[in-house]
Amino acid sequence: MSAADTIQRLDKQQLARRVARDIPEGAYVNLGIGLPTQVANYLDTAGDYFLHSENGILGMGPAPDEDHIDWDLINAGKQPVTLLNGGCFFHHGDSFSMMRGGHIDICVMGAYQVSTRGDLANWHTGDPDAIPAVGGAMDLAIGAKQVFVMMNLLTKTGESKLVEHCTYPLTGLGCVSRIYSELGVIDLGPDGAKVVEMVDNLTLEHLREMTGVDLTMAQ
Protein backbone atom coordinates (compact mmCIF):
# COMPACT_ATOMS: atom_id res chain seq x y z
CA MET A 1 0.00 0.00 0.00
CA SER A 2 1.26 3.47 -0.81
CA ALA A 3 1.58 6.40 1.55
CA ALA A 4 -1.43 7.94 -0.21
CA ASP A 5 -3.72 5.59 1.67
CA THR A 6 -2.85 7.11 5.04
CA ILE A 7 -3.48 10.72 4.03
CA GLN A 8 -6.14 12.20 6.32
CA ARG A 9 -8.21 13.95 3.65
CA LEU A 10 -10.86 16.38 4.89
CA ASP A 11 -14.43 15.49 4.03
CA LYS A 12 -16.87 18.19 2.92
CA GLN A 13 -18.09 19.02 6.40
CA GLN A 14 -14.55 19.19 7.82
CA LEU A 15 -13.63 21.46 4.93
CA ALA A 16 -16.59 23.75 5.61
CA ARG A 17 -15.58 23.89 9.28
CA ARG A 18 -12.00 24.75 8.29
CA VAL A 19 -13.10 27.65 6.06
CA ALA A 20 -15.42 28.96 8.78
CA ARG A 21 -12.46 29.16 11.19
CA ASP A 22 -10.86 31.85 8.97
CA ILE A 23 -13.94 34.07 8.83
CA PRO A 24 -13.72 36.67 11.60
CA GLU A 25 -16.74 38.02 13.43
CA GLY A 26 -18.08 41.13 11.72
CA ALA A 27 -17.04 40.03 8.23
CA TYR A 28 -19.32 40.73 5.28
CA VAL A 29 -19.36 37.40 3.48
CA ASN A 30 -20.82 35.98 0.29
CA LEU A 31 -21.06 32.19 0.20
CA GLY A 32 -21.40 30.69 -3.27
CA ILE A 33 -24.01 28.20 -4.34
CA GLY A 34 -23.35 24.55 -3.41
CA LEU A 35 -20.65 23.46 -0.97
CA PRO A 36 -19.66 27.01 0.14
CA THR A 37 -23.19 27.45 1.54
CA GLN A 38 -22.29 24.80 4.15
CA VAL A 39 -19.71 27.16 5.69
CA ALA A 40 -22.59 29.07 7.31
CA ASN A 41 -23.33 26.01 9.47
CA TYR A 42 -19.98 26.38 11.21
CA LEU A 43 -19.91 30.11 11.93
CA ASP A 44 -20.09 30.80 15.68
CA THR A 45 -23.77 31.32 16.46
CA ALA A 46 -22.89 33.66 19.32
CA GLY A 47 -21.14 36.07 16.92
CA ASP A 48 -22.38 38.59 14.36
CA TYR A 49 -21.61 37.65 10.75
CA PHE A 50 -23.12 39.43 7.76
CA LEU A 51 -24.09 37.02 5.02
CA HIS A 52 -24.72 38.72 1.68
CA SER A 53 -26.93 37.27 -1.03
CA GLU A 54 -26.54 38.69 -4.53
CA ASN A 55 -30.30 39.07 -4.97
CA GLY A 56 -30.42 41.83 -2.38
CA ILE A 57 -30.04 40.54 1.17
CA LEU A 58 -27.60 41.35 3.97
CA GLY A 59 -28.06 39.48 7.22
CA MET A 60 -29.33 36.33 5.58
CA GLY A 61 -30.33 33.57 8.01
CA PRO A 62 -30.76 29.81 7.68
CA ALA A 63 -33.54 28.00 5.83
CA PRO A 64 -36.99 28.40 7.41
CA ASP A 65 -39.12 25.53 8.67
CA GLU A 66 -41.85 24.49 6.26
CA ASP A 67 -44.51 26.72 7.81
CA HIS A 68 -42.45 29.87 7.28
CA ILE A 69 -41.36 29.53 3.64
CA ASP A 70 -41.74 32.84 1.82
CA TRP A 71 -40.90 32.77 -1.89
CA ASP A 72 -40.09 36.49 -1.80
CA LEU A 73 -37.23 35.60 0.54
CA ILE A 74 -34.82 33.34 -1.33
CA ASN A 75 -31.05 33.07 -1.73
CA ALA A 76 -28.89 33.12 -4.87
CA GLY A 77 -29.63 29.41 -5.35
CA LYS A 78 -33.36 30.27 -5.32
CA GLN A 79 -33.89 28.38 -2.05
CA PRO A 80 -36.02 29.83 0.78
CA VAL A 81 -34.03 31.54 3.54
CA THR A 82 -34.75 33.79 6.52
CA LEU A 83 -33.69 37.29 7.55
CA LEU A 84 -31.82 37.78 10.82
CA ASN A 85 -32.63 40.67 13.15
CA GLY A 86 -30.87 43.68 11.67
CA GLY A 87 -30.92 42.22 8.15
CA CYS A 88 -32.07 44.32 5.21
CA PHE A 89 -33.02 44.32 1.54
CA PHE A 90 -31.76 46.34 -1.43
CA HIS A 91 -31.90 46.28 -5.22
CA HIS A 92 -29.53 44.58 -7.63
CA GLY A 93 -27.60 47.75 -8.41
CA ASP A 94 -26.66 48.21 -4.76
CA SER A 95 -26.06 44.50 -4.28
CA PHE A 96 -23.44 44.38 -7.03
CA SER A 97 -21.95 47.70 -5.94
CA MET A 98 -21.26 45.94 -2.65
CA MET A 99 -19.19 43.40 -4.58
CA ARG A 100 -17.58 45.53 -7.27
CA GLY A 101 -17.00 48.41 -4.88
CA GLY A 102 -14.89 46.23 -2.58
CA HIS A 103 -17.32 46.25 0.36
CA ILE A 104 -17.59 42.47 0.68
CA ASP A 105 -14.73 41.16 2.83
CA ILE A 106 -14.76 37.50 1.81
CA CYS A 107 -16.43 35.41 -0.81
CA VAL A 108 -16.21 31.63 -0.92
CA MET A 109 -16.70 29.88 -4.24
CA GLY A 110 -16.18 26.55 -5.91
CA ALA A 111 -14.01 26.17 -9.02
CA TYR A 112 -13.23 23.99 -12.01
CA GLN A 113 -9.65 25.23 -12.09
CA VAL A 114 -7.48 27.74 -10.26
CA SER A 115 -4.01 28.81 -11.37
CA THR A 116 -1.05 29.24 -9.03
CA ARG A 117 -1.29 33.02 -9.61
CA GLY A 118 -4.95 33.08 -8.60
CA ASP A 119 -6.73 33.01 -11.96
CA LEU A 120 -10.18 31.49 -11.52
CA ALA A 121 -12.23 29.31 -13.87
CA ASN A 122 -15.61 28.40 -12.43
CA TRP A 123 -18.39 29.45 -14.81
CA HIS A 124 -18.02 27.33 -17.93
CA THR A 125 -16.38 24.02 -18.79
CA GLY A 126 -15.71 25.20 -22.32
CA ASP A 127 -17.94 22.45 -23.70
CA PRO A 128 -19.35 23.98 -26.92
CA ASP A 129 -22.67 22.17 -26.36
CA ALA A 130 -23.19 23.56 -22.88
CA ILE A 131 -25.67 26.39 -22.34
CA PRO A 132 -23.50 29.21 -21.00
CA ALA A 133 -24.58 30.86 -17.74
CA VAL A 134 -22.48 33.17 -15.59
CA GLY A 135 -24.70 34.77 -12.94
CA GLY A 136 -22.75 36.81 -10.41
CA ALA A 137 -19.53 34.77 -10.48
CA MET A 138 -17.40 37.29 -12.41
CA ASP A 139 -18.52 40.23 -10.26
CA LEU A 140 -17.78 38.37 -7.03
CA ALA A 141 -14.42 37.12 -8.29
CA ILE A 142 -13.05 40.59 -8.98
CA GLY A 143 -14.98 42.46 -6.31
CA ALA A 144 -14.57 40.76 -2.94
CA LYS A 145 -11.51 41.79 -0.91
CA GLN A 146 -10.59 38.14 -0.46
CA VAL A 147 -11.73 35.29 -2.68
CA PHE A 148 -11.52 31.85 -1.10
CA VAL A 149 -11.95 28.83 -3.32
CA MET A 150 -13.25 25.72 -1.64
CA MET A 151 -12.70 22.58 -3.69
CA ASN A 152 -11.04 19.21 -3.91
CA LEU A 153 -7.56 19.71 -5.37
CA LEU A 154 -7.87 16.49 -7.35
CA THR A 155 -10.73 15.36 -9.56
CA LYS A 156 -12.14 11.85 -9.20
CA THR A 157 -9.75 10.76 -11.94
CA GLY A 158 -6.78 12.30 -10.13
CA GLU A 159 -6.29 15.40 -12.26
CA SER A 160 -5.19 18.52 -10.44
CA LYS A 161 -7.57 21.48 -10.38
CA LEU A 162 -4.67 23.66 -9.23
CA VAL A 163 -2.76 24.35 -12.45
CA GLU A 164 -0.04 26.61 -13.83
CA HIS A 165 -2.45 27.98 -16.44
CA CYS A 166 -6.21 27.49 -16.59
CA THR A 167 -7.45 25.71 -19.69
CA TYR A 168 -11.14 26.34 -18.87
CA PRO A 169 -12.66 29.75 -19.69
CA LEU A 170 -11.65 32.31 -17.06
CA THR A 171 -13.96 33.95 -14.54
CA GLY A 172 -11.36 36.46 -13.35
CA LEU A 173 -7.62 37.13 -13.45
CA GLY A 174 -5.43 36.88 -10.34
CA CYS A 175 -8.43 37.11 -8.04
CA VAL A 176 -8.23 34.00 -5.81
CA SER A 177 -6.27 34.58 -2.62
CA ARG A 178 -6.54 31.14 -1.05
CA ILE A 179 -7.65 27.57 -1.75
CA TYR A 180 -9.18 25.37 0.95
CA SER A 181 -9.00 21.77 -0.14
CA GLU A 182 -9.25 18.19 1.05
CA LEU A 183 -5.44 18.12 1.21
CA GLY A 184 -4.66 21.48 2.76
CA VAL A 185 -4.71 25.25 2.50
CA ILE A 186 -2.74 27.03 -0.22
CA ASP A 187 -2.16 30.76 -0.70
CA LEU A 188 -1.98 32.08 -4.25
CA GLY A 189 -0.55 35.26 -5.69
CA PRO A 190 1.92 36.83 -8.11
CA ASP A 191 4.71 34.81 -6.45
CA GLY A 192 2.93 31.51 -7.03
CA ALA A 193 1.35 28.92 -4.77
CA LYS A 194 2.45 28.63 -1.15
CA VAL A 195 1.26 25.84 1.11
CA VAL A 196 -0.07 27.16 4.41
CA GLU A 197 -1.06 23.83 5.91
CA MET A 198 -1.35 20.19 4.91
CA VAL A 199 -3.46 17.37 6.30
CA ASP A 200 -1.77 14.64 8.34
CA ASN A 201 0.51 12.17 6.58
CA LEU A 202 0.97 14.35 3.51
CA THR A 203 4.35 15.74 2.46
CA LEU A 204 5.11 18.75 0.28
CA GLU A 205 6.87 16.45 -2.16
CA HIS A 206 3.82 14.24 -2.44
CA LEU A 207 1.52 17.23 -2.87
CA ARG A 208 3.77 18.53 -5.68
CA GLU A 209 3.68 15.13 -7.30
CA MET A 210 -0.13 14.92 -7.15
CA THR A 211 -0.78 18.44 -8.43
CA GLY A 212 2.13 18.71 -10.84
CA VAL A 213 2.61 22.37 -9.96
CA ASP A 214 5.45 24.18 -8.26
CA LEU A 215 4.62 24.53 -4.57
CA THR A 216 6.61 26.00 -1.71
CA MET A 217 5.84 26.25 1.99
CA ALA A 218 4.51 29.61 3.15
CA GLN A 219 6.92 31.49 5.42
Binding site: S53, E54, N55, G56, I57, D67, H68, I69, D70, W71, D72, L73, I74, K78, L83, F89, F90, H91, H92, G93, S95, F96, M99, R100, H124, I131, P132, A133, V134, G135, G136, A137, M138, D139, I142, G143, P169, L170, T171, G172, L173
Partner: protein, 227 residues
Protein backbone atom coordinates in the same frame (compact mmCIF):
# COMPACT_ATOMS: atom_id res chain seq x y z
CA UNK B 1 -55.96 64.46 -11.24
CA UNK B 2 -53.15 62.10 -12.11
CA UNK B 3 -53.97 58.44 -11.76
CA UNK B 4 -51.49 55.99 -13.32
CA UNK B 5 -53.67 53.01 -12.49
CA UNK B 6 -55.18 51.08 -15.38
CA UNK B 7 -57.83 48.45 -14.86
CA UNK B 8 -56.58 45.53 -16.93
CA UNK B 9 -53.33 43.96 -18.01
CA UNK B 10 -54.36 44.44 -21.63
CA UNK B 11 -54.78 48.17 -21.04
CA UNK B 12 -51.40 48.26 -19.27
CA UNK B 13 -49.67 46.75 -22.31
CA UNK B 14 -51.35 48.97 -24.89
CA UNK B 15 -48.95 50.08 -27.61
CA UNK B 16 -46.49 47.19 -27.21
CA UNK B 17 -45.03 46.62 -30.66
CA UNK B 18 -43.28 43.88 -32.59
CA UNK B 19 -39.52 44.14 -32.20
CA UNK B 20 -39.74 45.76 -28.77
CA UNK B 21 -37.02 45.39 -26.13
CA UNK B 22 -38.70 44.39 -22.87
CA UNK B 23 -37.09 44.40 -19.44
CA UNK B 24 -38.61 41.97 -16.97
CA UNK B 25 -37.87 42.16 -13.23
CA UNK B 26 -37.32 39.15 -11.03
CA UNK B 27 -34.69 36.74 -9.79
CA UNK B 28 -35.79 33.12 -10.01
CA UNK B 29 -39.50 33.42 -9.22
CA UNK B 30 -39.24 36.32 -6.78
CA UNK B 31 -40.37 39.65 -8.21
CA UNK B 32 -41.40 38.26 -11.60
CA UNK B 33 -44.43 40.15 -13.01
CA UNK B 34 -46.09 36.89 -14.05
CA UNK B 35 -49.49 38.35 -15.02
CA UNK B 36 -47.90 41.08 -17.14
CA UNK B 37 -45.85 38.46 -19.00
CA UNK B 38 -49.01 36.39 -19.50
CA UNK B 39 -50.45 39.59 -20.95
CA UNK B 40 -47.59 39.88 -23.43
CA UNK B 41 -48.18 36.25 -24.48
CA UNK B 42 -51.86 37.08 -25.10
CA UNK B 43 -51.14 40.43 -26.74
CA UNK B 44 -49.19 38.85 -29.57
CA UNK B 45 -46.13 41.07 -30.07
CA UNK B 46 -43.24 39.12 -31.59
CA UNK B 47 -39.59 39.49 -32.56
CA UNK B 48 -38.97 40.60 -28.98
CA UNK B 49 -35.74 41.18 -27.09
CA UNK B 50 -36.08 40.10 -23.47
CA UNK B 51 -33.79 41.59 -20.82
CA UNK B 52 -34.01 39.69 -17.55
CA UNK B 53 -31.75 37.86 -15.12
CA UNK B 54 -33.08 34.44 -16.10
CA UNK B 55 -34.78 33.05 -19.19
CA UNK B 56 -37.78 31.37 -17.58
CA UNK B 57 -38.61 27.81 -16.58
CA UNK B 58 -41.44 25.40 -17.23
CA UNK B 59 -44.17 26.53 -19.61
CA UNK B 60 -45.01 29.89 -18.05
CA UNK B 61 -43.71 33.45 -18.10
CA UNK B 62 -40.64 34.16 -20.22
CA UNK B 63 -40.40 30.43 -21.03
CA UNK B 64 -43.90 30.57 -22.58
CA UNK B 65 -42.92 33.58 -24.72
CA UNK B 66 -39.79 31.79 -25.90
CA UNK B 67 -41.70 28.55 -26.46
CA UNK B 68 -44.18 30.40 -28.64
CA UNK B 69 -41.31 31.62 -30.83
CA UNK B 70 -41.94 35.26 -30.00
CA UNK B 71 -38.47 36.07 -28.74
CA UNK B 72 -35.56 36.92 -31.04
CA UNK B 73 -32.92 37.67 -28.41
CA UNK B 74 -32.37 37.22 -24.70
CA UNK B 75 -30.01 39.41 -22.67
CA UNK B 76 -29.47 37.73 -19.30
CA UNK B 77 -26.91 36.42 -16.84
CA UNK B 78 -28.25 32.95 -16.13
CA UNK B 79 -30.46 31.22 -18.72
CA UNK B 80 -29.68 27.67 -17.58
CA UNK B 81 -32.02 26.60 -14.80
CA UNK B 82 -33.96 23.51 -13.83
CA UNK B 83 -36.82 23.38 -16.34
CA UNK B 84 -35.45 25.98 -18.79
CA UNK B 85 -36.12 23.63 -21.71
CA UNK B 86 -37.82 26.17 -23.99
CA UNK B 87 -34.74 28.35 -23.89
CA UNK B 88 -32.46 25.37 -24.45
CA UNK B 89 -34.44 24.05 -27.42
CA UNK B 90 -34.62 27.39 -29.24
CA UNK B 91 -31.02 28.27 -28.41
CA UNK B 92 -29.66 24.93 -29.64
CA UNK B 93 -31.78 25.23 -32.78
CA UNK B 94 -30.14 28.59 -33.47
CA UNK B 95 -33.50 30.37 -33.31
CA UNK B 96 -32.64 32.48 -30.30
CA UNK B 97 -29.77 34.90 -29.86
CA UNK B 98 -28.18 35.04 -26.40
CA UNK B 99 -26.19 37.94 -25.02
CA UNK B 100 -24.74 36.58 -21.80
CA UNK B 101 -23.91 39.36 -19.33
CA UNK B 102 -22.36 39.02 -15.88
CA UNK B 103 -25.11 39.83 -13.40
CA UNK B 104 -23.46 42.93 -11.98
CA UNK B 105 -22.75 44.27 -15.45
CA UNK B 106 -26.38 43.62 -16.34
CA UNK B 107 -27.43 45.70 -13.34
CA UNK B 108 -24.89 48.43 -14.05
CA UNK B 109 -25.82 48.67 -17.74
CA UNK B 110 -29.50 48.92 -16.82
CA UNK B 111 -28.63 51.63 -14.29
CA UNK B 112 -26.58 53.45 -16.91
CA UNK B 113 -29.59 53.49 -19.23
CA UNK B 114 -31.89 54.78 -16.51
CA UNK B 115 -29.35 57.38 -15.41
CA UNK B 116 -28.56 58.79 -18.83
CA UNK B 117 -24.95 57.64 -18.95
CA UNK B 118 -23.32 57.01 -22.33
CA UNK B 119 -21.33 53.98 -21.15
CA UNK B 120 -19.55 52.57 -18.14
CA UNK B 121 -16.09 51.12 -17.47
CA UNK B 122 -16.45 47.99 -15.35
CA UNK B 123 -13.75 45.69 -13.98
CA UNK B 124 -16.07 42.67 -14.18
CA UNK B 125 -15.27 40.29 -17.00
CA UNK B 126 -11.88 41.79 -17.87
CA UNK B 127 -9.66 39.15 -19.46
CA UNK B 128 -12.56 36.71 -19.97
CA UNK B 129 -14.49 35.44 -22.99
CA UNK B 130 -17.37 37.77 -22.12
CA UNK B 131 -15.16 40.80 -22.74
CA UNK B 132 -13.63 39.58 -26.00
CA UNK B 133 -13.48 42.29 -28.65
CA UNK B 134 -14.51 45.01 -26.22
CA UNK B 135 -12.61 48.20 -25.58
CA UNK B 136 -10.58 48.20 -22.36
CA UNK B 137 -8.81 50.88 -20.41
CA UNK B 138 -6.43 51.04 -17.49
CA UNK B 139 -7.62 53.55 -14.92
CA UNK B 140 -5.58 54.15 -11.80
CA UNK B 141 -3.69 50.87 -12.25
CA UNK B 142 -6.76 48.69 -12.75
CA UNK B 143 -8.18 47.21 -15.95
CA UNK B 144 -11.73 47.99 -17.05
CA UNK B 145 -14.04 46.97 -19.89
CA UNK B 146 -16.23 49.48 -21.75
CA UNK B 147 -19.88 48.43 -21.59
CA UNK B 148 -22.88 50.24 -23.05
CA UNK B 149 -26.28 50.91 -21.47
CA UNK B 150 -29.09 48.45 -22.05
CA UNK B 151 -32.16 50.37 -23.17
CA UNK B 152 -35.70 49.05 -23.12
CA UNK B 153 -38.87 50.17 -24.82
CA UNK B 154 -40.89 48.70 -22.00
CA UNK B 155 -40.00 47.66 -18.45
CA UNK B 156 -42.33 45.19 -16.76
CA UNK B 157 -41.89 45.30 -13.00
CA UNK B 158 -43.51 43.66 -10.01
CA UNK B 159 -43.76 45.65 -6.79
CA UNK B 160 -45.72 45.15 -3.59
CA UNK B 161 -47.70 48.37 -3.25
CA UNK B 162 -48.18 51.59 -5.14
CA UNK B 163 -50.18 54.80 -4.93
CA UNK B 164 -51.87 56.47 -7.90
CA UNK B 165 -48.78 58.63 -8.56
CA UNK B 166 -46.73 55.47 -9.11
CA UNK B 167 -44.63 55.52 -5.95
CA UNK B 168 -43.56 51.94 -5.24
CA UNK B 169 -42.82 49.80 -2.23
CA UNK B 170 -41.34 46.33 -2.67
CA UNK B 171 -41.48 43.16 -0.62
CA UNK B 172 -38.33 41.46 0.73
CA UNK B 173 -35.93 40.05 -1.88
CA UNK B 174 -38.58 40.39 -4.59
CA UNK B 175 -37.19 43.92 -5.01
CA UNK B 176 -34.10 42.70 -6.94
CA UNK B 177 -34.11 44.24 -10.46
CA UNK B 178 -37.39 46.18 -10.04
CA UNK B 179 -36.11 49.62 -9.00
CA UNK B 180 -33.35 49.80 -11.63
CA UNK B 181 -35.51 48.47 -14.47
CA UNK B 182 -38.28 50.92 -13.56
CA UNK B 183 -35.76 53.69 -14.28
CA UNK B 184 -34.59 52.21 -17.58
CA UNK B 185 -37.86 51.59 -19.42
CA UNK B 186 -39.14 54.18 -21.88
CA UNK B 187 -42.52 53.01 -20.65
CA UNK B 188 -42.55 51.38 -17.22
CA UNK B 189 -45.49 49.18 -16.38
CA UNK B 190 -45.84 47.87 -12.85
CA UNK B 191 -48.03 45.19 -11.34
CA UNK B 192 -48.71 45.51 -7.62
CA UNK B 193 -50.71 43.63 -5.05
CA UNK B 194 -52.31 46.78 -3.64
CA UNK B 195 -52.83 50.39 -4.56
CA UNK B 196 -53.03 52.53 -1.44
CA UNK B 197 -54.64 55.98 -1.17
CA UNK B 198 -52.27 58.87 -1.90
CA UNK B 199 -50.46 59.90 1.27
CA UNK B 200 -50.70 56.56 3.05
CA UNK B 201 -47.45 55.02 1.80
CA UNK B 202 -44.75 56.11 4.25
CA UNK B 203 -42.58 58.40 2.09
CA UNK B 204 -39.49 57.11 3.95
CA UNK B 205 -40.16 53.61 2.63
CA UNK B 206 -40.82 54.49 -1.01
CA UNK B 207 -38.07 52.80 -3.05
CA UNK B 208 -39.14 53.81 -6.56
CA UNK B 209 -40.41 57.39 -6.90
CA UNK B 210 -43.42 57.70 -9.17
CA UNK B 211 -41.49 59.72 -11.77
CA UNK B 212 -40.12 56.40 -13.07
CA UNK B 213 -43.53 54.74 -13.39
CA UNK B 214 -46.05 55.14 -16.22
CA UNK B 215 -48.77 52.58 -15.61
CA UNK B 216 -49.87 50.51 -12.63
CA UNK B 217 -52.15 47.53 -12.62
CA UNK B 218 -53.40 45.80 -9.49
CA UNK B 219 -53.11 42.01 -9.41
CA UNK B 220 -54.30 40.66 -6.08
CA UNK B 221 -52.02 37.85 -4.96
CA UNK B 222 -54.48 35.38 -3.48
CA UNK B 223 -51.96 32.56 -3.49
CA UNK B 224 -49.50 34.05 -1.06
CA UNK B 225 -49.36 32.82 2.53
CA UNK B 226 -50.33 35.41 5.13
CA UNK B 227 -46.87 35.14 6.73
Amino acid sequence: MIDKQVRTVAEALEGLQDGAAIMISGFGEAGVPAELIDGVVAQGACDLTIISNNAGTGDVGIAALIGAGRVRKVICSYPRMVGSRHFEERYRAGELELELVPQGNLAARIQAAGSGLGAIFTPTGYGTKLAEGKETREIDGRQYVLEYPIQADVALVKAYKADRWGNLVYRKAARNFGPIMAMAGKTTIVQVEDIDPLGTLDPETVVTPGIFVDRIVRIADAGKAAA
